[in-house]
């Protein structure tokens, strides 16, 4: 009997268990993370070995450094997660891991480690989509939250509106045509000399500025009302600075940051609200690193309230890449009998609608 057949048989016994404990690994980008989560929503430990300091030196995520660092720290991060949760390896019921999308070298570190642990312990391996993890972070934060709802996922690599119809059932409503919102934040922050990561830096400076000082473009695509485009906005900020520079004039950093941020927030909020109204959904969920942006939270909250829509967003630690969210998504996959073979591979480009 193959590993997968054995594990498939094991699922029914697991379903009868009162407590299912899952170890999850997440290494899709710059964080090496491991977590132990019970029954999908009870976080026993959530360890994130932040590599931000290494990356700050370079003003961006450096792939080679990322995968080397992952290899260096993954064992410690896993041990730490087990220790902090007071869980022994033998108590684990399954291992979940992010297999895409992300940087291939980075993803492979987590996938390989997860496979080794799952095979060694003879427990099911569950491949999880990174975005599915971000969405699931809200299940941890809000124990009562259940699908369906509309979810806005905004991070350095992703900007999407997804209709979450049920656990593991997604419909892509809109996405970015060019740059992700977080990528625009990072690039504009770099142009403004604010450093990495750009999101929190712009958010902080923007608090001192006037968001209406400069009118940067809000892109609306006629045929695709729920799709985003942030590349033109980034170029508009560069053009603005370039023009002032040519004329030898100075600019107000705070106003540029606030006006840029306002342009991003306006389209994110408007399109998400529109999508929720069109789909007749009374709940909006935000996920991903940019969901921690204070202006976005404030404006989304206000606009949702006007329409009696309930807004959910996770605390910052669950907004950024973490493994607890992967364990949560993995739990629901496991209950549905969706486990992975040991041939699971890292998939750098993986649309959420393509997960089995």
């Amino acid at each position: 009997m193959t590993y997968l057949q054995q594990m498939t048989e094991k699922i029914s016994t697991l379903r009868d268990k009162k407590r299912i404990t899952i170890l999850a690994l997440e290494t899709s980008c710059d964080e090496t993370a491991a977590a132990v989560v019970r029954n999908g929503r009870e976080v026993l430990s959530n360890i994130i070995s932040s590599q931000i300091d290494t990356h700050r030196l370079y003003g961006g995520v450096v792939p080679e450094i990322a995968s080397r660092k992952h290899v260096e720290v993954i064992s410690q991060v896993v041990s730490h997660a087990l220790e902090e949760s007071n869980t022994s390896m033998e108590e684990l019921d399954a291992v979940a891991v992010t297999y895409g999308p992300g940087l291939v070298g980075a993803l492979l570190v987590g996938v390989s480690a997860a496979k080794a642990i799952a095979f060694g312990l003879s427990v099911p391996l569950i491949g999880v989509h990174h975005i599915e993890g971000h969405i699931s972070a809200n299940f941890i934060e809000y124990k009562e939250l259940e699908p369906p709802f509309v979810c806005l996922i905004v991070s350095g690599g992703h900007t999407q509106i997804v209709h979450v119809k049920d656990y593991g059932e997604y419909e892509l409503i809109g996405q970015t045509m060019d740059d992700a919102a977080g990528e625009a934040f990072d690039k504009v922050a770099r142009v403004l000399g604010l450093g990495y990561p750009g999101g929190p830096a712009v958010d902080r400076i923007a608090k001192e500025g006037n968001p209406a000082a400069i009118s940067f473009p809000r892109v609306h695509l006629r045929e695709k009302p729920y799709d985003f485009s942030f590349s033109g906005l980034k170029t508009a900020v560069i053009n603005y600075l370039h023009n002032l520079e040519q004329r030898g004039e100075s600019y107000c950093l705070e106003d540029v940051a606030a006006s840029f941020q306002q342009a991003v927030v306006d389209v994110l909020v408007e399109k998400t609200i529109d999508a929720a109204l069109k789909l007749n959904q009374k709940r909006i969920v935000m996920a991903g690193g940019v969901a921690a942006n204070s202006a976005l939270k404030r404006q989304m909250e206000a606009e949702a309230e006007k329409r009696q829509i309930q807004l959910y967003y996770p605390t910052p630690v669950l907004c950024t890449d973490n493994a607890a969210m992967i364990a949560c998504a993995g739990y629901y996959r496991l209950l549905q009998g969706e486990i992975s073979p040991l041939s699971l591979n890292a998939v750098p480009y993986l649309p959420i609608t393509q997960i089995q």
Binding site: V62, G156, H158, M177, D179, S231, P348, Y349
Partner: protein, 158 residues
């Protein structure tokens, strides 16, 4: 060599499409230009011209996106690269010197890994806000045929 003035994002896209329609399997197209010059727009045009259908967005996050068409199209963005040798982590040679068409944004970062032969495209800002000067230059004997292609360029049809 071809020097051409793009007056809009749409112009840049259509020019890319024309370049893409002339590519052959194994071609490497390296793009040089500053942030906001229109490299992703040009890349999208090239990919669509090479037969890719659907969305082509920024690969900054994943470093490389691949698309299937008549020949696979590999779209790199080296913006986040610090050292060229980091490309070995991505098995870049499999893509650059394989059967597909390779498009590379931020090709400046290739540095000593710059291939011997490639189609070089530089984009720079002009006086007017939306104007871009696009310079196309074949490098190496493999790309000699491009000289004729570029000479016969008749402007983008509208």
């Amino acid at each position: 060599m071809l020097i051409w003035l793009s007056r809009s994002e749409e112009d840049t896209y259509l020019f890319g499409k024309w370049i893409g329609s002339n590519t052959k399997a194994g071609d490497i197209i390296l793009l040089f230009g500053q942030m906001g010059s229109g490299k992703t727009v040009l890349s999208r045009g090239i990919a669509h011209g090479a037969g890719v259908s659907g969305m082509v967005n920024s690969p900054t996050f994943t470093i490389m996106n691949s698309y299937s068409a008549l020949h696979p199209v590999f779209h790199f963005d080296l913006y986040r690269l610090n050292e060229p040798e980091e490309l070995y982590d991505l098995d870049y040679e499999d893509y650059f010197f394989g059967i597909g068409i390779t498009i590379v944004e931020w090709a400046e970062r290739l540095d000593y890994l710059l291939p011997e032969e490639y189609l070089k495209i530089s984009i720079s800002r002009e006086q007017k806000v939306n104007e871009r000067k696009i310079t196309v230059c074949p490098v190496g004997s493999r790309y000699a045929a491009w000289k004729e292609v570029l000479q016969n360029y008749e402007g983008i049809g509208s």
